[in-house]
Symmetry: C2
Subunit: 209 residues, 2 copies
């Protein structure tokens, strides 16, 4: 793998991602981003005008990494509910391990300023496609009628599935501190068995015996 010479705009964006995702909008410093990108402050403004605009770009990219996956997986029509859940948990937790700071970043910035979502929605109409859940709702009703799963609401189920994947990542410092005596290695082991555990937990919760 040869390290490509990245153009300045990309170098800035990469540095901005790292700094913003770790320190947040208000904690990030343009100077630190410039240092990390190997350029100077003035150049940041040349490419991205203001700190807010640079942040906006970083946020949109972070958001689009870990939201659309949900859509893709729920919409794969040829799978049963159990298969979809297994497939989702597996893929989503893998994704989270690759980008462990993104969920906390996105969640936090949205709590500070929910307004950001408006801009994101305008540029990505796909997020508004509510028929996504309507289709999934139909499948859930269908399998419930067939006696495969208990009757269950799609939004409650999706919230639980996503929450069970994300929570151990965003709340890592607390859980690791309280339940694992702050042992990083033990917590990594804990996380690595969550895929299997979470999948079984959810399927047991909704299946008819």
């Amino acid at each position: 793998m040869i390290e490509e010479a990245k153009d300045t705009e990309t170098k800035i964006l990469d540095a901005a991602k790292e700094v913003f995702q770790h320190k947040g909008l208000t904690g990030a410093r343009m100077q630190e981003i410039a240092d990390k990108a190997g350029i100077n402050k003035a150049l940041l403004h040349y490419y991205y005008r203001t700190k807010d605009k640079l942040f906006e770009k970083v946020f949109e990219l972070a958001f689009s990494v870990f939201i659309p996956k949900i859509r893709d997986i729920v919409l794969s029509t040829d799978k049963s509910v159990f298969e979809k859940i297994e497939f989702f948990v597996d893929n989503y937790i893998s994704l989270l391990h690759k980008h462990p700071y993104i969920p906390g970043f996105v969640i936090n910035e949205l709590n500070r300023n929910p307004q950001i979502l408006v801009g994101v929605f305008e540029k990505n109409i796909q997020f508004k496609e509510m028929n996504l859940f309507e289709k999934f709702e139909i499948q859930l009703k269908d399998e419930a009628n067939k006696g495969i799963i208990r009757p269950i609401d799609a939004r409650n189920l999706m919230t639980n599935v996503v929450g069970l994947c994300i929570f151990p990542i965003v709340a890592r410092p607390i859980i690791q501190g309280i339940m694992f005596n702050n042992e990083k290695k033990e917590y990594d082991e804990f996380l690595s068995q969550r895929k299997k555990f979470v999948t079984e937990f959810i399927i047991n919760a909704i299946k008819v015996n």
Copy 2:
């Protein structure tokens, strides 16, 4: 209920809670806290020396609101596992509704600076009492042997229970935006049925049929 004339120190702390919990350590401004407390900046430093010290105080109070509850409930020995779960979910979600900004605040600040926990632990040794989970683990093994519940790890279970309660609160802007077309009222209704839903979901997941 008569509004008591609060002393200055309390007024400052109340104002600081509000500002820090909404804007975070780096986003909060001493000026805003002073304004909200109805005093001036100099007085903040008179009572709490520095911004960091004031923040530390606020963080510790926030942390102690929503962590010890877990301990209290898990340790109530006269309850079955099912009863504990129902009791916990009920009480914890009620608590979260009273302080909806605390979980996000605590989680975020800990991700930015996990070091804070060290100080909190030193002042509250109770958090380190790991036998809490060992006792619960014994009860889980016991009920599994009796064929009441499936064999399950205490830490995985606790993570799921707490996560299912907290996630819809901290991720509210995202879930409400994507699944509920940003309708506040609908999301409030959604939250109000979660107690029952989450309890049943977990019990179904672990009970033997």
